[in-house]
């Protein structure tokens, strides 16, 4: 075990670090910026905001996305809102409080300095988005409205109905479109990054595949920025879009970038339950619904009565009972585990018994159906389309589902990987959410990284790289292209009997079972045994039809699932190593008498950053976490 990880956290008191760092950071003079080329992979909130801002600053940017338009990146599906320490409600919010809530929400497994900076820049994000025309919800007086999200006792969440991610992304997409029109950003839609290219120890480009023609091409740059989202689809079923994948970050890992805390995954408590084997994805019902909805299950196990037939006294509003001060707005990890516990006790509802109720009856009688419709209409509509049930009349049935991944590539304070020249933004990095992300903080982090942080720090790297950009026909690129072509022809040449989805489903079940909402030593060891077998079966028996020189969706999926099959193992190594429970990582062996997560700060107050070492097990590097501004404490929402 080595400790070569320097997070480059600036000296000084926490509230001065970012300002001081910005002042001390190297600048690139405006006339010189056009001499630098930047590759950005991904066009969600982090990627689009970074591409737009860096293009506007005068850098030459190439932006890649696998969707047919940058505006379709999965940020678009974020529903509930975006946090910011504006204190518009005068309810006691501040940068310090948002910082504290986020560190505590992450169960004291995030890096203080990064989180403080996130809270500091949060207010500017709202200003920026309003100026872009993002139609946030407003009060009748014309000022911005707020609502509450889990893990906070203030109202600091800004929202645009249940479509906040869509509206924020359209703002960033608009800014990106402007830079494309001005020629500062060159956009590559329907193009998938398949390899990171490292030249003399620095990330200097990518190899990508045109998903329409199949053409493989090399792109050289002075720095590469990955904003490629999370890896929740390793579980097959998740709230992620079908195309979300780990390939970009996993390829970077294979080239030397450390992957940090891969076992930290967020299981969101309020999703529509699974209804059958054919199911291809899970749909989130926004956490904002817990502002007005009350979560309950029957007190009696095996109670099959319709919800309306169960009298008040026979209902268990278990979140309100167990966590009286946060109630239905207990954080996601805690609410999810509580739902699982209820179902494990045989008190789950619906045909499968894997569900609990989210009930709006009280809110509707208090506020009227009109107000509830205005607040959550699109979510109720979506629920109706999927389940054919009317949530204005019957309580929603909900169950936890994989939603977000806090782990990601390791980055320092500048958002640069240990692999020089590689920057990582948004969900793709590990930096801000520790072991559990609070609701409405993903949008905040994506836009903070893209609009404000990276543009302030990227100069520190670029200033040292004048004239070092390789040509795209350098031998390193040729080699990477050859690797991509070989992998493609290998996949197409297997001609086995099972489909890509078959393997993906099986991997998903294994991960959900052994490395899901709860984990234990024996289960993780079983998964570490099974995963390599499954991978072997995949490479012997998968059936990928067609060719590489055409639009081939099976081939696209096969490449992604091949990477998931390896990545799942890395998650299990990390989960096995972390012999404590914290946030979304719940090891059954480590819990308190009342079933809460039991941290071990003595031994595990560190970021686990994994290095790829050939075909052997990954090697662990530790970044110790030091808490100076907040005191390590048992996380309680009671």
């Amino acid at each position: 075990m080595t400790n070569g990880l320097d997070a480059h956290i600036p000296e000084g008191p926490i509230e001065k670090k970012w300002d001081q760092h910005k002042f001390e950071s190297k600048l690139i003079n405006p006339a010189n910026r056009r001499k630098y080329e930047i590759i950005i992979v991904g066009s969600g909130l982090a990627g689009a905001s970074a591409a737009a801002t860096l293009g506007e600053l005068g850098y030459r940017v190439k932006c890649f996305c696998y969707q047919d338009s940058p505006r379709r990146a999965h940020s678009i599906a974020a529903q509930g809102g975006i946090n910011a320490a504006k204190n518009y409600q005068n309810d006691g919010d501040s940068v310090q409080r948002l910082f504290y809530d986020t560190v505590k929400g992450g169960d004291f497994r995030s890096r203080e300095a990064n989180v403080y900076r996130l809270a500091q820049v949060s207010a500017g994000i709202i200003d920026q988005c309003v100026a872009q025309g993002v139609p946030f919800a407003r009060e009748y007086g014309g000022l911005l409205a707020n609502r509450s999200f889990g893990g906070a006792q203030v109202s600091r969440t800004f929202y645009a109905r249940g479509q906040t991610g869509q509206q924020l992304l359209l703002g960033a997409y608009g800014a990106l479109c402007k830079q494309i029109a001005e020629g500062n950003v060159e956009m590559y839609p329907r193009t998938e990054m398949l390899e990171l290219v490292v030249v003399d120890g620095h990330a200097k480009g990518i190899v990508a595949r045109n998903m329409v023609s199949g053409e493989i091409s090399s792109h050289a740059a002075d720095t590469v920025v990955l904003a490629t989202g999370g890896y929740g689809n390793v579980f097959y079923l998740s709230t992620n879009a079908k195309g979300c994948n780990v390939t970009a970050t996993y390829r970077a890992y294979k080239k030397g970038a450390y992957f940090a805390n891969p076992c930290y995954t967020q299981i969101h408590p309020t999703c529509i339950p699974v209804s059958g084997e054919y199911q291809s994805k899970l749909t989130l019902m926004s956490e904002s619904l817990r502002n007005d909805g009350r979560v309950w299950a029957p007190k009696m196990a095996g109670d099959k009565r319709a919800p309306g037939q169960i009298p008040e006294g026979e209902r268990d509003y278990y979140l309100e009972r167990k966590y009286p001060s946060f109630g239905n707005l207990a954080p996601r990890d805690i609410s999810s585990r509580a739902a699982k516990q209820v179902c494990d006790e045989g008190r789950g509802v619906g045909e499968t018994g894997l569900g609990v109720y989210l009930d709006f009856a009280d809110a509707i009688s208090r506020l009227g159906e009109h107000t509830i419709r205005e607040r959550y209409g699109n979510l109720f509509d979506m629920y109706h389309k999927i389940t054919n049930e009317d949530a204005y009349k019957l309580p929603m049935r909900i169950f936890p589902a994989v939603h977000y991944t806090m782990g990601g590539l390791w980055v320092d304070y500048n958002l640069m990987s240990n692999l020089p020249g590689l920057h990582v933004l948004g969900e793709a990095n590990f930096s801000d959410h520790g072991a559990n992300r609070l609701g409405a903080s993903a949008l905040m982090q994506g836009l903070a990284d893209g609009y404000f942080v990276l543009p302030g720090t990227i100069g520190n790297y670029l200033a040292t790289q004048t004239g070092k950009r390789p040509k795209a026909d350098a031998p390193e690129f040729k080699k990477a292209e050859e690797d991509v072509r070989n992998r493609t022809s290998r996949l197409l040449g297997i001609k086995g009997k099972r489909t890509v989805d078959h393997f993906h489903r099986e991997l998903g079940l294994l991960m959900w079972d052994k490395c899901g909402m709860t984990r234990n030593d024996a289960g993780l060891r079983e998964a570490l045994k099974r995963a390599p077998q499954l991978r072997e079966e995949f490479w012997e028996d998968v059936n990928v039809l067609g060719s590489g020189e055409e639009l081939n969706q099976s081939l696209e999926k096969a490449g992604r699932v091949a990477d998931f099959l390896e990545f799942g193992e890395l998650m299990c190594y990390d989960a096995l190593n972390r012999r404590e429970s914290c946030g979304g990582h719940f090891r059954e062996e480590f819990q308190t008498a009342d079933g809460e997560a039991k941290r071990n700060d003595e031994e595990y107050a560190y970021v686990a950053a994994w290095e790829c070492v050939g075909d052997g097990p990954p090697q662990l590097h530790k970044e110790p976490l030091e808490f100076e501004a907040v005191h390590l404490a048992t996380r309680s929402y009671k």
């Binding site: 338009s69 946030f136 800014a175 479109c177 054919y278 489909t499 078959h502 067609g546």
Partner: protein
């Protein structure tokens, strides 16, 4: 409309197959068997594709991503209507309970001069991005914004802006428009106007004095 029927249903599909933009396409017929009524339309296609691959036939290519009705990627014409029979419902949010057992379902790509077919049911909609690039944005430099509450906007104006901004840019309007009335790409012109109007609403959110 819910089509009453068994929990598992059978359908005859007529699906547009086209190798690429350069070759001509044709309809192919497939049986979709034992489809759960609670499966989505795209999950029905997933099931059909798994069957095709098992027979070593190339699966039907179709665009999809979020499968929750917001990304705008899915783009099928179902029985002659973009996104199928349900109002304000994307293909991915359409469920098989809306199709009667034994029904024949015709599945085509969006048909529009501006949206050339790339393969099977996938079309090129980059024209929509070009419209946005031509001015569908509000010009504001990053970091140059005033405090968000310094300009109040009346709630009705904000709500109206939100209504306009909720468009998912799937292009169904273009497919619908060209199909019925404007064979020569006039649909896009219509869309451009609509996008400008939406852009104006978004810009309007920044106008002073409405509150």
């Amino acid at each position: 409309m819910i089509a009453p029927g068994p929990a598992k249903r059978n359908y005859k599909l007529r699906v547009w197959r086209q190798k690429n933009g350069e070759t001509a396409g044709r309809f192919a017929e497939y049986d979709a068997r034992d489809i759960p009524a609670d499966a989505s339309f795209l999950e029905m296609l997933d099931i059909v594709n798994e069957g095709l691959i098992a027979r070593n036939e190339e699966p039907v290519a179709f665009d999809h991503d979020c499968r929750e009705g917001i990304c705008g990627m899915c783009s099928l014409v179902i029985n002659g209507t973009p996104h199928g029979p349900n109002r304000a419902t994307t293909t991915c949010q359409l469920y098989m309970r809306h199709f009667a057992d034994g029904e024949t379902i015709v599945i085509e790509p969006f048909r529009a001069g501006a949206f050339p077919v790339l393969r099977d049911l996938i079309v090129n909609r980059s024209a929509l991005d070009r419209i946005q690039q031509a001015g569908g944005f509000v010009s504001v430099r990053t970091g140059a914004a005033q405090d968000a509450n310094s300009i109040p906007i009346s709630k009705p104006a904000a709500d109206k802006a939100m209504d306009a901004a909720a468009c998912i840019q799937c292009g169904a309007c273009v497919a619908e428009c060209e199909r019925d009335a404007f064979p020569s790409g006039a649909g896009v012109a219509f869309l451009a106007a609509a996008a400008r109007a939406a852009g104006a609403e978004r810009a309007g959110a920044g106008d002073a004095g409405e509150a």
